[in-house]
């Protein structure tokens, strides 16, 4: 019985998975830095209120609210 290959059998694919996961995580990290630096999170309140307003044109403001 050979015992040398055992580690390799398990390891090889885990390297691919870890690299892929790191790649995804890294990409998100870059995006995170972009988001912070570009001021996405400078205002952490207004956006939550803004979504409550719809952009109906002035001409046809028709209250369909129940």
């Amino acid at each position: 019985m050979r015992s040398t290959g055992k580690f390799a059998v398990i390891m090889s694919v885990i390297i691919i998975l870890i690299l892929t996961s790191l790649l995804v995580a890294g990409a998100f990290l870059v995006t995170f830095f972009w988001a912070v630096r570009s001021g996405q999170y400078d205002d952490d309140y207004t956006p939550s209120v803004r979504i409550l307003y719809d952009d109906k044109p002035e001409s046809e403001v028709n209250p369909t609210k129940k």
């Binding site: 015992s3 059998v9 398990i10 694919v13 995804v24 870059v30 979504i51 409550l52």
Partner: protein
């Protein structure tokens, strides 16, 4: 600042809503059939509708058809409004819609006819895998295109959840679906055994994370505040929720493989990240529920809020239960039992289902510009649906515990008190009946909703294009800090993210996978040999019939398992298994050491009608395997494919494979004839017997050397 006039595409939202409802009904009906097949095996009807095929149809239909379309419905509605822009391209929207529906139909038909890759939640064969990748990328282009053309600079938190979904699902799907086609609808995954298991559950876990969770969290952050008409409790918390969740989720996959042949450190890594996941998950749940602070009175007479509250609560329960199940001691009890079935249905029925229903009740009246047809019926749906979830999950928890404690019970003499697995199954059959009742209640609710929606749509008129106006986005004048080399990437983060991911992935996979995998397929246990051609064909029948849905091939190192099934599983035993068939649920006993346990004649009779050999068994009968001729036309191609994947068959073995196959088949049919069973050696039953008799026999001769 110019005010621009534009319109939102409601038609695509409506189309996805219809698809959600239709596929929801279909998927749940199939689920009900599967639930009824367990206590009433007669309902397995014929070869195409056995539990092993019905259950993958149910899971695929719920995840990709019901939740998939529900996700697209919500995203197409909210994305446009959050970005103050129409979808990037109506044509791409249409291709996305019809492409996805075609994939669903293709999936249902192929699974029905037994074309499956045999990997849970990724059962679809390679042509459909490619179609999924293409349609998904189209969805991605459409989404990022809309983001680029937005009129609102800030990306609301929901959009971040959508982006994570699009990017990560694409990566997961591609990595897990790397397979070598043998024929038009048959392929082998390039990964084998332990590796295949690891990739599969890395995918499987993250599919739950990024297909069933992140998009729906995005939807929660849009539709819940809209429905209650107040901002989310803490917007800052929602941002922390998002970033923490996506950085933690992707590492938790190994918790699906605790106590298996996966190395211990990988298991522990999965456990640690799973426990950490409680924090962001509960942050999200609390954020959702606290949005209703001071407005709980609105829940009383607002049906969509009722659905949302139960959905978010179910999310909280499932995301607490998940980390608990990742603890090894808890997992030892729950793994392979109906506890897991209960767990996923809290998530599926409670979180995904109820959130989808709430969105439909909120959205359909709005895009049809009419009040909901009947609030009473909607209230009825809510209560019967909630009752359905309880009737479904409580019996399943009960069944899981009951079976586990029966299986691990020893007598004073140190032998298993219930040596026959079947005894534990018979014990929980009443629970299976109750579960089917719960599912029926839930389904009645869905039918009520669809009726309500049709009536609502009829009484109103669809606003296909909803007019809106918003100021154009002002261009940010970038002050050039000369010399910053990374300036260019910062200006196009979204495109860069996508392009770099795709490029690196393709390049990485082409380069890495073959070298890694083929080289590493060196057998670690010298007595483990490749399957004979007949066993290989038999194994493909095992995969085709979805045996892995109910039978595991993975004995954990517990005394109550080794006493029952035999020596625990070793990683080196699976090096030729494309795909791995460890399974995740034991509705029947483990089969890893099935080889040699029973005579060939037992298997023959058992496959023809399990109840003749095991009275009370709930396994489907497979008389068609006795009638069907084994298709040996592809044996050579299969051998060649396996050789390409590194299985050490002799050179030119594909030429003589069928001769060897017939030789082995004749031996088995001769043996059957001696026991009074006359059967042509060309039948499928011979191949499946050959495979079952091979299972786990390789290392029997090695036991002594291993013990040292």
């Amino acid at each position: 600042m110019t005010i621009e006039k534009f319109s939102y595409d409601n038609k695509i939202v409506r189309n996805f809503a219809i698809a959600t409802m239709i596929w929801g009904m279909v998927a749940m009906l199939v689920g009900l059939l599967a639930a009824l097949q367990l206590p009433f095996p007669g309902l397995n009807f014929d070869a195409h509708t056995t539990f092993g095929r019905v259950r993958p149809i149910h899971t695929n239909a719920i995840i990709f058809a019901f939740v998939g379309n529900g996700m697209f419905m919500g995203i197409y509605y909210s994305l446009q409004r959050l970005l103050k822009a129409r979808m990037f391209s109506d044509a791409l929207s249409k291709i996305h819609f019809w492409g996805w529906q075609l994939i669903i139909v293709g999936a249902a038909v192929t699974l029905f006819f037994g074309f499956t890759s045999g990997k849970e939640y990724a059962e679809l064969e390679w042509p459909i895998d490619i179609a999924i990748a293409i349609v998904w990328v189209i969805f991605g282009i459409n989404m990022f295109g809309t983001i680029i053309r937005r009129r609102e600079r800030h990306l609301y938190v929901a959009i971040w959840f959508y982006i994570a979904t699009v990017v990560t699902v694409a990566v997961l799907h591609i990595v897990n679906s790397v397979e070598l086609p043998v024929t038009f609808l048959k392929s082998y995954p390039v990964y084998a055994g332990v590796q295949d298991a690891l990739v599969q559950w890395w995918y499987g876990h993250n599919a739950v994370a990024f297909f069933l969770t992140t998009p729906y969290l995005g939807l929660m952050y849009y539709f819940l505040p809209k429905a209650v008409n107040r901002p989310v409790y803490s917007y800052r918390l929602s941002i922390i929720h998002f970033w923490a969740l996506i950085f933690l989720y992707i590492w938790a996959g190994p918790h699906h493989l605790l106590y298996t042949a996966l190395p211990n450190w990988a298991q522990s890594l999965g456990v640690v990240f799973s426990i950490m996941l409680i924090a962001p998950s509960w942050g999200g749940m609390i954020n959702g529920l606290l949005t209703l602070r001071g407005a709980w009175d609105r829940v009383r007479d607002n049906v969509e809020l009722k659905f949302f509250v139960v959905a978010v609560t179910a999310y909280g329960m499932a995301t607490f239960e998940g980390p608990m199940l990742s603890l090894k001691s808890v997992n030892a009890i729950a793994h392979y039992t109906d506890w897991i079935v209960a767990h996923v249905h809290i998530g599926g029925m409670g979180w995904n289902g109820f959130l989808t229903f709430g969105i439909l009740y909120w959205l359909i009246p709005r895009i049809y510009n009419t009040p909901l047809y009947s609030k009473k019926l909607a209230g009825f749906h809510f209560w019967i649906g909630t009752l359905g979830i309880l009737f479904y999950t409580i019996p399943m928890y009960f069944a899981g515990f009951t079976q586990h404690f029966m299986l691990k019970e020893f007598t004073e003499d140190g032998v298993l008190r219930y040596p026959n697995f079947l005894e534990t199954v018979v014990q929980i059959v009443p629970m299976y009946k109750l579960r089917a009742l719960g599912g029926s209640l839930y389904l009645i609710g869905v039918f009520t909703m669809v009726y309500n929606m049709v009536k609502t749509a009829r009484s109103g008129k669809l606003i296909p294009n909803e007019n809106a106006e918003a100021p154009a986005l002002e261009k940010i004048v970038v002050a050039e800090h000369a010399g910053h080399w990374h300036r260019w990437i910062e200006r196009r983060p979204v495109q860069m993210l996508l392009v770099s991911l795709i490029v690196i992935l393709i390049g990485g996979m082409v380069e890495l996978i073959p070298t890694f995998l083929v080289k590493s397929n060196v057998p670690t246990i010298s007595s483990v040999h490749p399957y004979t051609p007949l066993e290989l064909q038999g194994r493909d029948i095992y995969v085709r019939e979805g045996c892995y849905v109910c039978h595991s091939q993975m004995i954990r190192p517990f005394r109550f398992e080794t006493e029952r099934y035999g020596e625990y599983s070793k990683p080196g035993e699976f090096v030729y298994d494309h795909p791995f068939q460890w399974g995740s649920k034991r509705t029947g006993p483990d089969l890893q050491r099935e080889g040699g346990k029973y005579p060939n004649s037992w298997h023959y009779n058992h496959m023809e009608d399990p109840r003749t050999m095991s009275p009370g068994s709930i396994m489907p009968a497979y008389p068609h395997m006795i009638e069907n001729d084994l298709d040996t036309s592809d044996t050579g191609a299969k051998i060649r494919a396996m050789q390409k994947l590194g299985v050490p068959y002799d050179e030119h073995f594909d030429k003589v494979a069928n001769a060897q196959l017939m030789q082995q088949a004749n031996t088995i049919s001769d043996d059957l004839a001696k026991n009074g069973i006359k059967v042509n050696s060309r039948k499928e039953i011979i191949a499946i017997i050959a495979y079952l008799q091979r299972l786990g026999t390789d290392i029997k001769g090695e036991k002594l050397t291993q013990a040292k």
